[in-house]
Amino acid sequence: MSRPASTSFFSPRRVLIIAQSTVTQLVRMKIFYFLAPVALLFLGMQYFDQIWYNGPEVIQPEQELRMHKNICLGTMMLFGCLFAVVSTALLIPGDIEDRTLYTILCKPVPRLDYLVGKLLGVMAVIFIAMLVMDVLMVVTLHYRTEAKLVEATEYMKNIGYPEREIEAGRADIASQGPTLILQFGVMSHFLKASVLAAVALLISTFSTSTLFTIATSAMIWVIGEFQSIARDGLFHDPLLGDMPTLAERIVGTLISLVFPDFQLFSSISDAAARAENILPVDMAQLGGLAALYIGIYVVLSWFVFSDKEF
């Protein structure tokens, strides 16, 4: 048998094999079952009509559609992040406890390949789950928007709105339907969940239990959601208009490196729910930031994991 002289430092093929196995593992663990209640929630929202009034007899269907989007995006964010933390926390400690890791690392598999493979596997499953939830959201939102358009047009005609105002009203309602901008919101949640999975990966490389990994990752998630507010409160008083000092800026940067600033991701999602204009360059920047966070956490994970003894 011909034998390779050396094993490459990093092999995308091996990473893909481990990622593929991780996807199979998570799929066969039946984790997609959580999509059933999500589907029920999204479908059930169709029948949860709420009439909004703004002044006498003025219907506001846009707000109803916005609420629909907020609930859908919120659910996607919650499940995506929960899924990222729990599944990543289960994988590596599980492999160590079961000693499956011994047999993998005794093959010519660099530890970096293993870590990146596991992370990519989790990200692939998050992507699939997000895609399914996204399709559900778009379909339900489409039907709801169509229904609202008919309902509002009829209402406006009945009370004698001029044709031009009816068209303007219809355009306002349609802008709250499924649009490309809404997809940016979904994408921001996917990126947030991916960053959180990378955080959980880092913690699982030195943690001794699944519970510790889940609890710590969840804590970092919460800190990440509120750290920008905390930073503003600590280092900058908007009422006084004072600028942060150099030391405060360094501390602030360090905090935002250790704890990812999830508020940045949420702000894109909130803007998408309000159907505000989001530029592709903003999305590219958010993608770059997520890649930076993931890169930092993977390198740190590798640093810890490369000398870990089993």
Partner: protein, 291 residues
Amino acid sequence: MSDAAAVEVKNLVKDFKGAFNGGKVHAVKGVSLRIAPGEVYGLIGPNGSGKSTTMKAVLGLVAPTSGSCSIFGRNSRKVDSRMEVGFLPENPYFYKHLTAAETVRFYGKLCGMGGRKLKERIEELLELVGLQDARNRRLKGFSKGMLQRIGLAQAMVQDPRLLVLDEPTAGVDPMGSREIRDLILELKNRGITVFLCSHLLEQVQQICDRVGIIHQGVLVNEGRLDDLISLENRTELILENASADLLEQIQSLVEVTHESKVVSSGNARTTLEDLFLRETKSKKERKRVSK
């Protein structure tokens, strides 16, 4: 490279931190051993003697505190060395969601195998370990013995020159244990080096060329099995169909010499394992005939 030992451990020392920084635990204290290519080497010792730590150091799963380990001349800490080695851990667990064939395929792919070659290798190995009928069953329903066999199959997937087996027959019934033993002997005939740890001393005696005894982290004895277990001042004579007269004559002859004496005599005995296998096999055969 061809002259390199299959396994070479030089002055291996491994210390672990004690609980709450309460000093060091000296797991292995200066162990040195060399396993030649094609040899079957057994490392035996009581629990906590440093067997598994030595094995893990050879596999690169733990870093030596001092000393070194190499596989076919390559440092064990380097990933390259693992192309030549297959490992079966004690009580192995694999991904329960995979089937037997998928498990072997997964490990084969990790070793860079693929396509038709891997497909054929999977079939060959499943047949070798007797799991071809369970090839599409998920591992979560496997017995301990079956897991041990699939463990052997994954260890051998890339056709390694060295197999490291940690308690290869733990939890396996006598028949399966015999099959694994025969398999190790077959691998030995193919020129594969085997490094194994076992508590089953009789089995080690049956299959190993050389044995090392480790106790409290120190290799207290090592050598060719025949040399280690033979009692120089004793001779064994096994007769078949010997009459009482003949035995009496032999006894008298021995007594005449005054220098020798008969230490014991009686019927030669089979092993319990052989008896068990004979009985269970014959019962199975009887059942098959009656069907």
